[in-house]
């Protein structure tokens, strides 16, 4: 198993189910960092900042459904794999709908023991996209560090206009995030 940390975002409001899902994910990869949301606002607050390798989502949540979560992920996290883990996704129409909307797969909670196998397949399928995201992220990190170091150095020296330049660069750095 890879030593890379596997980042998993779980959208689940039932504590018992959450722990069961975590346990199965650890069987796939023990080097894991989780982030969890239990409702809509927590999901919106956390998921894009977390930049997960995969999202595992229940279908029925207190104030949203899984399809809304899937659409949000597709809008904000591009091709990040998204898997439904649910107790009710058991009619063919709904299954077809999830796939057509861009889910990477689905699993019934009764079959949770099959999650490691499903994760293996999904990760395998999305390796190229994950590598691309990693490269993009590393380029962003290197550029941010160069910018921040330049701002710090600029603040150490004084010449006419240096404060304004530092302030402008700071705004650019903040805007890049």
């Amino acid at each position: 198993m890879s030593e890379e940390i596997f980042k998993v975002f779980i959208l689940e409001d039932m504590p018992v189910d959450l722990e069961l899902v975590k346990r199965q994910v650890r069987k796939f990869n023990p080097n894991v960092l989780f982030a969890v949301a239990r409702h809509r606002s927590e999901f919106h607050d956390k998921v894009t900042n977390f930049q997960p390798d995969i999202v595992l989502s229940d279908y029925n949540l207190p104030d949203m459904n899984g399809l809304e979560a899937l659409v949000y992920v597709r809008e904000h996290l591009d091709s990040t794999p998204f898997v439904f883990i649910t107790g009710i996704l058991n009619d063919e129409e709904k299954v077809a709908e999830t796939i057509l909307n861009g889910a990477s797969g689905y699993l019934l909670k009764d079959n949770l023991r099959n999650l490691p196998e499903l994760l293996e397949a999904v990760v395998q399928q999305s390796q190229q996209a994950m590598a691309q995201r990693e490269n993009d992220w590393e380029r962003k990190r290197v550029n941010q560090i160069k910018l921040r170091k330049s701002i710090a150095m600029l603040r150490q020296i004084n010449f006419p206009g240096s404060d304004e330049i530092a302030l402008s660069l700071q705004e650019v750095a903040d805007d890049l995030g």
């Binding site: 030593e3 080097n31 590393e138």
Partner: protein, 107 residues
Amino acid sequence: MQGQNLKQINDTKISELLTHAGLSVLLITSTWDGHGIIMRTLLDGLSNQYSKVFFGVADVEDSPRICKVFNVTNPPGLLLVRDGELIERAMGAVGVSGIVDLIERNS
């Protein structure tokens, strides 16, 4: 100066942080990060008060893997992890009362 309870973390030690039972507080900063330098001093003091909490500090330039895992490109970043779950993520300057509040809320 760094107290005994604030540990320097790098990419090779990230698994220790994720498998630590209980609450961990990680600061990602750098020598040129003014706010982070102050926060590091604050954490050093707090690490002596909260003996059950693991306190770590990582350098943004030396630890690309840690930065990737916690999605931090722009230090300082303060991360709270409990039993392998990221429970709080605060970017930018946080004062001592803010840090204490985060720890107390999640202890």
